[in-house]
């Protein structure tokens, strides 16, 4: 059977693939695999166009670090992730189910899509605020930073993991484990 049309691959195979990908990204473009910067820059560019006064101190600080926001490497990386996941799910037919609310969420909060959307939006705000303060996310810190043995990531990743688990248990409880 063609592996490309399979619904899922072994997590170990996927992990090896991502690890090898990180070699190539370091070796060919001198960058690690990171995602969050794209979102930060998108927001900064929008803000530059709409409220230049407000964003000025931020942009000045960034320019000092030699990191002026622009559509670049990370942005294209995010676009690629979208394309790759689209291609993979189309080839295997493993598209997301039509239902608007994930089953686990529905079990806990009912089937109102609005509530799920509000939760995702609010969660997104807190997540990105955390990612920007810590300067990295699951890709930049928890994979790329951990594998480079950067102390910054070795602080971020365990704190993130433990907090995430604690809040997940607060939200869903032990009972929730039977619904995943």
């Amino acid at each position: 059977m063609n592996p490309l049309t399979k619904t899922s691959w072994s997590p170990y195979l996927v992990g090896v693939g991502i690890g090898v990908l990180s070699w190539f990204s370091f070796a060919t473009v001198d960058r690690q695999l990171g995602i969050t910067t794209a979102f930060e820059y998108s927001a900064a560019l929008t803000e530059q166009a709409t409220a230049p006064q407000v964003v000025k101190p931020y942009l000045e600080a960034k320019a000092k670090d030699g990191k002026t926001p622009k559509i670049d490497w990370e942005w294209m990386l995010v676009l690629g992730v979208f394309i790759g996941a689209y291609a993979s799910s189309k080839m295997s037919g493993d598209r997301a189910p039509e239902e608007k609310v994930p089953p686990l969420w529905r079990w806990r909060f009912g089937d109102s899509p609005g509530l799920r959307y509000a939760g995702a939006f609010f969660g997104g705000i807190i997540m990105m605020l955390g990612a920007r303060i810590a300067q990295g996310c699951t890709s930049g810190h928890a994979i790329s930073g951990i594998l480079q043995l950067a102390l910054s990531s070795w602080i971020f990743a365990p704190v993130m993991g433990v907090t995430g688990m604690a809040v997940a248990f607060l939200i869903y409880g032990k009972e929730g484990r039977r619904h995943v």
């Binding site: 991502i18 997540m127 810590a134 699951t138």
Partner: protein
């Protein structure tokens, strides 16, 4: 204490001179491969991601730990032979603790992170669109607060670029294989004691 300036040894690898256009094409190719792998691994799925936080489904841990073992061994080998530069983010203890906590809270709510979110969107999980709007709004909020954060949180425990082996005075040639073995042992334990 270690001197942050000396903690990270510069490599002799000259930064590759890749033209901007080629770099963007490379980014698309790497991103596409990354997204393909994330989707095939199932880590763009709500249940898998929350299942990991609830310690019921260990797919995310398996993918990440394997990627770390493989990535680390390769990157440090290449670095040893001066083929690559490391890209170490500065340690700011306060920022990484507070940022990590906020990220964790957000993670439990949205389930997708920025990378797996892009993969979730690719496979058609539309609820992630609202999460992504939140991510952009969060970036906006960060930019607003960045002046204040620079004066406060980012100055707390600002240590510069620090790597674990230097901090612990363990040679990299010992630390890297030891950590790899530890992760592999952990993967065997997961395989032994978890169902998924």
């Amino acid at each position: 204490m270690i001197d942050p300036g000396k903690a990270v040894k510069e490599t002799s690898a000259p930064p590759p001179t890749v033209p901007a256009g080629k770099k963007l094409v490379a980014a698309i190719i790497f991103g596409t491969a990354f997204g393909f792998l994330l989707q095939k691994g199932g880590v763009g799925k709500y249940n898998v991601l929350i299942g990991q936080l609830l310690l019921q489904d260990f797919t995310v841990a398996k993918v990440m730990m394997t990627a770390i073992v493989v990535g680390m061994i390769g990157v440090f080998t290449l670095h040893h032979f001066a083929k690559v530069n490391l890209d170490i983010h500065p340690t700011r203890i306060g920022a990484q603790i507070i940022g990590g906590m906020l990220f964790g809270v957000g993670f439990a709510l949205i389930a997708y992170c920025p990378g797996t979110g892009a993969a979730a969107l690719g496979q058609g999980s539309w609820d992630v669109l609202f999460g992504m709007a939140g991510l952009v709004a969060g970036s906006y909020l960060f930019a607003e607060m960045s002046g204040w954060l620079k004066r406060t949180v980012e100055t707390w425990g600002d240590k510069g670029k620090v790597m674990l082996p230097d901090l612990l005075h363990i040679p990299r040639g010992v630390f890297v294989p030891a950590f790899a073995l530890l992760l592999i042992a952990a993967l065997f334990a997961i395989e032994r004691f978890s169902t998924r």
